[in-house]
Symmetry: C2
Subunit: 412 residues, 2 copies
């Protein structure tokens, strides 16, 4: 890679699986060593080893059914602290000068929230002082500190965010996210044999894919990268092959309008029947659901001149019982006649920046699905995405048909 | 206890065995709760759970044969951090407000040394702010931070030192050291059935006993307590019974001159034969041994008018091979004729502040040993202690005889 050949600053991030054992930590040390040997300064961000976080959570649950979030943060941050020390030892053993830093030592300041804090500021003095001495700096991901000195964590995907935020603050040339897949694919290669790895992808496309459950990168990290124009590369910690570059403007291969097909199962459609038409009925329903932490995805309402209307929305199937309970408890307030719920549904989405300037993409999607006799139950669109809800049995068939029809299955 | 009934500030310390499982942590929470219920403010210092530290050391050894001390401190301090979070959760679960603090959050500043740092200063603001709100403060033992922000550890017995140092800095009314024994005994109750628990003991006596391997309290912690006049109490975390109070002037029970009999096996006597008499020969030998981390205990040399002399000193048997190697390597420099080493020896010591004003204690000791046909191989004395080296087979016989003869076996 061209960037790697220049003298610069590279931030590398390794997730829990990549540092899951002593052997894997030694493998990570090799990756770090190679980047340092190319003449670059290197900052490494690591997660807790393998299942450590889960084990710590279990330990806490043995003591308290609802442990304080402050103390959970105190407990969980020991996981990454263990990894940074071991990785620094591994690099020292290989003859490289490396020093580990906890989140607070690395100057990662967050808002005063436990369990899901956002980074507000990074004081890079300590890190820059070590880099200027040629040392490799290893930083505990997922953790920070409030202005008042309390230890916080950044929530799901927190180590990705730490890496991107450090890359932004240090003005790094690149931020490499090492993971257990070799890059970002046109669709999930575990389900679709024609899935191809993308050479590059734009922040916006990645954001839609991340939000749609592609799972490679946390949306918050992608958003951060977009806001600070940090060039990301998703690559494998096991295989030495090129990954996928994520940047502002991706080079569109073969003028492809659609860049990826994402999918998600265990979706349920809930329909509220005979809802009285009023200005506040929608906000009342969704505020009530939000208060009970139910994540509503697609919402469909056809407003008519009649006194009552039907409202449909999609949720994760695991939230169905709570949703029904909440709606039942507030029946008088919400003023509706009945509830209908349909399980065993899936969401399939096509994503691509090119859609903005190409009308008719949604139409083509419906045509492809109709040809395959797949019934579309709900539709949702954004500027660079079209999502449909279909029966779960049709999910992979729909993904394969769309992947083929939008030219993603062809080799470059 | 009188002190417990007053409103005040109590520092409690629980060692690794006392917090070795979830069940034991819940038991510790009960101890803390009781002290808080008596109306006292409570600061709790805890160690890492059971064998955690050993496990972390093994993990490090898998990666590096000689891990950097800085990174070992980074690694090991996760142990206490885990315990403080779990104990805080346990107290919260029981309805008590508690907050955990790492060493650096508790303001424990140390010299910039890794693995064995001394506390130089404690900024108590954070702790005092929480205490003033009625909260229980839980502090990670064994750890601190340098002025430059590096994480350090305090070495063996570090959590004892943290507890005593916090008690001094916070001007606590008492520092309770909870452990797996019920107090300080006249001798080791595992070996001598007549051993009695002491009601109280002076700092100086405890220092001699701690240094002689009684193992209940680390000497550095006792020294700290003496310097800052912190009243200590050693007590059981399992049984609710009175422990042993350690303070400046212990009430001497029944005018006992000797307060305790300590003993230690696996001692070796090394004799350097035909050492050329010179002003520097002693310092050369012991400087050389110290440079190789060999701890020399008793030293005996009879200066004569002859050109050469014999020098004897005692070491731990485990250090014998290194000692012989070092002496051999420096034979030319040290200028001696030969080396003789005698294994299977033990050290037996009597300790008591009353000795200062009672001449003839050593004489009585020798008389008792002679009556029992026990040969004395080496002798060492301090103001409040007499130590003798005897054959290992005679050790317990010597301890029992001294324990009886100096009146320690009689009930109060």
């Amino acid at each position: 890679m061209k960037e790697g050949e220049e003298v610069g600053l590279i931030v590398q991030k390794f997730g829990g699986t990549s540092v899951g054992s002593v052997e894997r930590i030694l493998n990570v040390a090799e990756c770090v060593k190679e980047e340092k040997r190319r003449g670059n300064n290197v900052v490494v961000v690591v997660s807790a080893m393998g299942k450590t976080t889960d084990q710590l959570v279990s330990l806490a649950k043995e003591i308290s059914s609802e442990p304080s979030k402050r103390e959970m943060d105190m407990l969980l941050t020991t996981g990454e602290q263990t990894t940074i020390a071991l990785l620094a030892m591994a690099l020292n053993q290989k003859g490289f000068e490396a020093e580990s830093f906890t989140g607070w030592q690395a100057g990662i300041i967050t808002e005063p929230v436990h369990g899901n804090a956002r980074i507000t500021k990074i004081n890079t003095d300590a890190i820059e002082s070590k880099l200027s001495k040629g040392k490799i700096v290893i930083v505990a991901g997922f953790q920070g500190i409030t202005e008042e000195g309390a230890i916080t964590t950044l929530g799901r995907g927190g180590s990705d965010t730490t890496a991107v935020a450090l890359a932004a603050a240090l003005n790094a040339d690149r931020c490499d996210i090492y993971t257990d897949v070799t890059g970002v694919f046109t669709t999930d290669p575990r389900y679709v044999k024609n899935a191809r790895k993308l050479h590059d992808i734009s922040y916006d496309e990645m954001l839609e894919l991340a939000n749609l459950g592609a799972g490679v990168l946390h949306p918050r990290a992608v958003e951060f990268a977009k806001n600070y124009q940090v060039q990301l590369e998703v690559r494998s910690s096991m295989e030495k092959i090129e990954g996928t570059v994520i940047k502002e403007e991706a080079v569109v291969e073969q003028n492809l309008i659609v860049r990826g097909v994402a999918f998600e199962d265990e979706i349920t459609r809930v329909t509220v029947l005979g809802l009285t038409n009023s200005l506040t009925s929608l906000s009342t329903i969704f505020t009530t659901l939000a208060e009970h932490h139910i994540n509503v995805d697609i919402i469909i309402q056809s407003i008519t001149e009649a006194e009552t209307t039907n409202l449909s929305f999609s949720i994760k199937t695991e939230d169905l019982n709570t949703t029904l309970k909440v709606l039942e408890e507030h029946k008088a307030l919400l003023n509706y006649e009945g509830i209908d719920a349909e399980n065993h549904l899936s969401k399939v989405s096509i994503v691509g920046s090119g859609m903005i300037s190409n009308p008719g993409v949604a139409a083509k999607m419906f045509e492809v699905l109709a040809e395959k006799q797949i019934q579309v139950k709900m539709v949702s669109t954004s500027e660079i995405k079209v999502s449909v809800v279909v029966n779960e049995v049709d999910m992979i068939k729909a993904v394969e048909a769309l992947h083929d029809s939008f030219g993603l299955s062809e080799s470059k």
